[in-house]
Amino acid sequence: MVNILKGISLQVEAGERVGLVGPSGSGKSSLMMLLGGLERPTGGTVRVGGQDLAVLDEDGLARFRRDNVGIVFQNFHLVPTMTALENVALPAEFAGKDDAFERAEAGLKAVGLSHRLEHYPGQLSGGEQQRVALARALVCQPRLVLADEPTGNLDGETGRQVIALLFDLARLHGTTLILITHDAALAERCDRIVRLADGRIVEDRATAPLEAAQ
């Protein structure tokens, strides 16, 4: 067995925006998976919004994610057989919300895709797909959004637009945002930067308020 994360202690406040940085293999993704309840720690505790994730079983974790966590992936991970609207509605449908499609439509409108509701992922550009993914991550208004290199597969301009949107929406809903990125400038836009190396936190600092406010 390989211990990927070692002796990590990290507390993130509600509504805080944290940039998670570090070289490949430093443990960024593993940390994010622990926070999202996608993997279980071999030791230690993970609490999100007061909930100890260790006591939840597989389906309990799925419900926890459904109600509390939105995830944005580098590769978008939209379901190819579903339209943009259906993709966005999916978490709300899982949560049994009757207004799933109204919420999804509003979400897509918020990311500027109200004209793309019935398009399938294959009919959308990369930037549009990531905006759909963004709308999907936020459709249930989660308390925590995890974003794993959300601009990694996008060109510079599109990436900037997506990030602006992500920050705006997070601020609007008061959502806690944890953002993995290789982009130093992007990390600096967060409230706080946590740097990992070899499974340990090697730096944890607040960014300049001015930039964070941008």
């Binding site: 996608l38 799925a62 109600d67 991970h77 379901v79 899982f94």
Partner: protein, 847 residues
């Protein structure tokens, strides 16, 4: 109304189309189609038998007696119920006028009222004529109508005279269709020879003790119903030894035959479905492997494992329904397409209709197989961790599904077996099939795994490591997620059946051709008059070349009671209940017959003068649960005789000599009406001489050539072989579908391999060689398993069951290896050519 979310999601997922499910659909369509066709056809035939009951029976009620017909008093009573018609059935020899040719025929003598129901159809120029006109005596000569086969065997024509016993008949018509032929029951050894009842006494064939059946048929008067009349007849004449049957079940033998055939063919379909189930499982697994990203995404978004399982189960079952529907539709129209074949083989006009219950049964089998084989991969998909999305390498789902899925799989399997046992009507046979299928699948699966493991080990051998194409081929067969085991298993089943039947046939035919003739007599003679015995013996013994003649007295009778209990209530082992089925041959002897040995009791002394004693075959003892010292009651030509069991014999029935299951001590039966049975041993060159002498001197003696009888047995074996080959063929077709599915599923991998190899400098020929070796090895693995298991199965049939010599058949092994290699190489070649046709650049850019 609240939406059922799994249904909504399944419908969305189905938008991707049925591309990955074509094999699943084909597998189910093949198996369900086979079962649905069998169900429809058999129900049509059974329906035909039921609808034509009166015509098949020749009336509303039929009474069959042996040795003597109903007496005048009884006849008057029967005539009170309606119109009565009488006929006589017996076997005899038809001979050409010159006495040179003879053949065994099924003679039937009818009265002018025949047939009471339906019509006998004659071929031109006698078409439209009534039997009474054809058979009537004209200018002192009686007429006969025969089946074409009788004319063919004797080289005779319409208008010729043929001798039946002592009487010459003019052949006036060829029979095209005899309405009550199958209703008569029993199996037919020769073609029909139809004559007038009044002519029969002059043939001299109706001798006391010769096997003659008297049939009395009644067409009930209006207002008289079948059931109460039949009951009354049974009440009045229950103890007269009559076999009474009625039009509600006119042809029980055919009905039983069709029912058994339907069970067998349904099991053939089920075999195809089982093999197809492997294809279903592979298709579902391969599809779900491609959906791992979507499944993990849904889990990240909060979907529970349960929701995932339901979503994909609904999707798989929806697509399965497409395959099932195709199969059901094929089954519904099959009787239309096959009506010609039915008409050739079943003398019943079949009314073709749709049978919802039969089709439903086929659909239920298909649905249970689809469910049973897809639950496992769905269970694995359910366990796909959401975190998979964060890893670069998407591993196919593996491991064992959770207990809920295992339980559901178990329940499905139980339901499948339950359905089979509840609906087949042949409980033991079907249970045997179920057990056999489970064991066979288990053994094939283990053998396939063993070979895959060996292939993996072989990949590490130095010599192979130095041959990149071979190494690549072995690596492809043994990489994680390879479908090698399932392909070898599913192809292996059909091939194993092929090897088994080929070896059993070779061994059996070898026995028939080499071993039996050496010790078997050349002829059996039946119906020799007791008084003619010595003359017959001397005549035949004098024919040049004849080495030995044996004669044995023959009586017919039945066991009516065992230890005072009526025989039908005394049966303890139904497997041997046939010993009670009607009249059996019996004899008396001073010395113990050859080819039998005592397993209990003692043989009587040569000068035995005590009370009646009988020696019984082991089968009789087992049927009735009787032992030495017990009393049996027999009815021999109308008289009851009580005898004590003196001993029990085990008889070697394989030697083709004469042997009786019931042998009496001397002193009790010598005076009863009886005939003699004889055998003559002679080389082939002497056979014609024997035939001529018998034809000229003993027109009433029935002569059966062992060579002809063996040819009949051989053709029977051939028919069984054809039925088993049909099973193998259908199983092989299903196995080929599994192979095609595996090759289609591996297409992406093969294209990628081909591109990478080409980029690294491999020529197309090198790449092709590697792929062909891979598929050739796959075929050889399946063949190796089939040869090993098939030979083992053949040995198990040949040695312990048939008591013959087992020989390994090189021809069968080579044939099966060739079939396997051709199938795998052909499909492999198609896949390889597709892979090689791809250009490298686009793929590498995408990667």
């Amino acid at each position: 109304m609240k939406r059922f979310l799994p249904l909504v999601l399944a419908r969305r997922e189905l938008r991707a189309g049925a591309r990955g499910f074509r094999i699943l659909i084909a597998c189910l369509a093949l198996g369900v189609g086979t079962i649905a066709s069998v169900q429809s056809l058999s129900r049509d035939i059974l329906g035909g038998i039921e609808a034509q009951g009166r015509s098949l029976l020749g009336g509303d009620i039929a009474i069959r007696t042996i040795y003597h017909g109903v007496n005048a008093d009884q006849l008057r009573t029967l005539e009170g119920y309606g119109t009565v018609s009488e006929s006589v059935d017996l076997r005899g020899m038809a001979r050409t006028a010159d006495g040179l040719h003879s053949t065994l025929v099924e003679a039937k003598a009818v009265d002018p009222g025949y047939p009471l129901v339906g019509a006998v159809q004659f071929m031109a120029p006698a078409e439209g004529m009534k039997p009474a006109e054809v058979l009537a005596q004209k200018d002192g000569l009686w007429g006969a109508a025969v089946e074409q086969a009788a004319l063919d065997r004797l080289g005779a024509h319409l208008g010729d005279r043929l001798q039946l016993g002592a009487l010459a008949y003019e052949i006036r018509a060829v029979i095209a269709k005899e309405p009550d032929r199958i209703g008569t029951g029993g199996f037919n050894l020769g073609p029909r020879f139809l004559v007038a009842l009044d002519s029969m006494p002059a043939t001299g064939l109706m001798q006391p003790g010769s096997l003659t059946y008297y049939d009395t048929r009644i067409l009930l008067k209006p207002g008289v119903t079948v059931e109460p009349t039949e009951k009354e007849i049974r009440r009045l004449y229950g103890d007269a030894g009559w076999r009474v049957s009625d039009s509600r079940d006119a042809a029980p033998e055919i009905r039983n035959f069709v029912t058994r055939l339907a069970t067998f063919l349904t099991l053939v379909g089920l075999t195809a479905l089982l093999v197809g189930g492997v294809g279903v499982g592979n298709a579902v697994k391969s599809y779900l492997d491609g959906r791992i990203g979507v499944i993990a995404t849904m889990k990240c978004l909060g979907a529970s494992g349960r929701l995932i399982a339901w979503t994909y189960l609904i999707q798989v079952m929806a697509l399965s329904l497409v395959g099932i529907a195709i199969g059901v539709a094929a089954g519904a129209v099959a009787p239309l397409a096959l009506s010609g074949v039915i008409a050739d083989h079943f003398p019943v006009s079949v009314h073709i209709s749709v049978h919802p219950l039969g089709l439903l049964l086929a659909a239920a089998y298909g649905a249970l197989i689809a469910l049973g084989f897809s639950l496992w991969p769905i269970g694995r998909a359910r366990a796909v961790p959401a975190g998979t999305l964060f890893r670069d390498l998407v591993q196919p789902a593996g491991g064992r599904p959770d207990s809920a899925i295992l339980l559901a799989t178990g329940i499905t399997l139980a339901a499948l077996i339950g359905l089979l046992l509840a609906t087949s009507g042949q409980l033991v046979f079907s249970a045997g099939f179920a057990a056999g299928a489970i064991v066979t699948f288990g053994v094939l699966g283990l053998a396939a795994r063993l070979l895959a493991w060996l292939a993996k080990r072989a990949g590490r051998v130095d010599w192979i490591r130095r041959h990149p194409t071979l190494r690549l081929a072995l690596a492809n067969l043994t990489r994680p997620g390879a479908a090698t085991v399932s392909v070898v298993l599913s192809l292996g089943l059909g091939l194993t059946i092929l090897v088994t039947i080929a070896e059993v046939e070779t061994d059996f035919r070898g026995e028939v051709e080499r071993d039996i003739p050496a010790e078997a007599p050349a002829f059996f003679f039946l119906d020799i008059q007791h008084a003619d015995r010595d003359a017959f013996f001397n005549t035949i013994s004098a024919v040049p070349g004849v080495t030995r003649v044996e004669t044995v007295p023959s009586l017919r009778g039945r066991i009516v009671a065992a230890r005072g209990v009526p025989a039908d209530k005394a049966v303890v082992d139904k497997r041997y209940a046939w010993v009670l089925g009607g009249d059996r041959g019996m004899t008396y002897a001073v010395t113990q017959p050859a080819r039998s040995h005592l397993i209990a009791g003692k043989w009587w002394p040569a000068d035995y003068r005590g009370p009646p004693e009988v020696s019984i075959a082991k089968e009789v003892a087992l049927a009735l649960g009787i032992k030495v010292g017990d009393e049996l009651t027999f009815n021999i030509v109308g008289r009851d005789l009580k005898a004590t069991v003196a001993n029990v014999r085990e008889i070697d029935w394989g030697g083709l000599g004469i042997n009786f299951s019931l042998v009496f001590a001397p002193g009790f039966l010598e005076g009863a009406p009886q005939t003699e049975i004889a055998t003559a041993y002679a080389p082939r060159s002497a056979e014609e001489g024997v035939e001529r002498v018998v034809n000229q001197n003993y027109p009433g003696v029935t002569m059966i050539g062992v060579r002809d009888a063996l040819a009949t047995v051989d053709s029977l074996i051939g028919q069984i072989g054809t039925a088993v080959r049909l099973t193998a063929g259908v199983a092989l077709a299903a196995g080929t579908l599994v192979l095609a599915g595996a090759i289609a599923a591996g297409e992406r991998r093969r294209i990628y391999d081909a591109v990478v190899l080409k980029v690294l400098g491999a020529t197309r020929a090198t790449v092709m060689r590697a792929f062909l070796i891979e598929h050739g090895l796959l075929g050889l693995m399946a063949a190796a398993i089939a040869i090993a298991l098939g030979s083992l199965a053949a040995w198990a049939v040949v040695v312990p069951v048939m008591d013959l010599h087992w020989r390994f058949s090189v021809g069968a092994a080579a044939g099966v290896a060739a079939i396997a290699a051709v199938v795998t190489l052909t499909f492999g070649m198609v896949g390889t050519l597709r892979a090689l046709g791809r250009r490298s650049a686009p793929l590498l850019r995408n990667e």
